[in-house]
């Protein structure tokens, strides 16, 4: 029953990621095509452009939301693959807790840095 809800969340986060990550990738990579449509994106990986986004609360919120759903989707998918290899109950438990710990650490690290940059 518990895994059923995890699976349902996998579908919901999948749809959210398809939208949020598409925005992220189009802004980061399709500068020639965005320029054709009149959207001016000047070198999104430069320090000025990055700080410009990092000082706007809407971008920081969008990225932290994206981080949360991506981490859930990726780590739940990885756990699904590990569980499909039918490990013992002990290995299953260890894998689950390692994945949860990794997810929490990655989320704290990944949301601390943009928040620190936003405040400073």
């Amino acid at each position: 029953m518990r895994n059923t809800y995890l699976r349902l969340m996998q579908l919901v986060t999948g749809i959210l990621i398809a939208v949020l990550l598409a925005i992220h990738i189009v802004i980061m990579h399709l500068n020639a095509i965005l320029g054709f449509f009149g959207v001016d994106v000047t070198e999104p990986t430069s320090w000025e452009s990055m700080i410009g986004r990092a000082s706007q609360a809407i971008w920081v919120g969008l990225y932290i939301a994206l981080l949360a759903v991506v981490l859930y989707h990726a780590l739940n998918g990885l756990r699904g693959i590990i569980l499909e290899l039918t490990p013992s109950a002990r290995t299953k438990r260890i894998a689950t807790w390692v994945i949860i710990a990794f997810g929490i650490i990655a989320f704290i690290g990944g949301s601390y840095v943009p928040l620190a940059l936003l405040i400073s």
Binding site: A22, H29, N31, A74, G110, V113
Partner: protein
Amino acid sequence: MKQMQPRQNYLGPGGWVWAGKYKLERYLYLLHRITGLGILLFLILHLCMTTIFRIQGQDVWEATMALLHNPWFKIGEYLVCAAFIYHALNGLRLILQELGFALGRPTPPVYPYKDALRKKRPWTIAMIAVIAILALVFFYDFIVGGW
């Protein structure tokens, strides 16, 4: 209820690739898994780059970016983009079909039978076409932007 014996027909990761005659959709599933694991690997590198290197200030960030504008990293970035396009569109197809859409009307089982796989095959072909077009659009942009 009788306890299931999970390792009776166990093939392990080898079974992902070959366990009899797989159809197109089964290989798409394998590719879905491979692209998922690849994107997970990229995500870890990406998070290191945008946290550990970014917090150290402008000089470290610009040195990292200069390294990442190397053509080999650009090719890798393109592969990640293509993997994302594939994983997203195949995932949307899987979600729709899991919820019962795009499967075609049920028909009475009269010979010659039309199985579910053949009814949803046109959607699969359409999805592959959209993926190819989007991958080409991204390829164009990566070429124009310079490697």
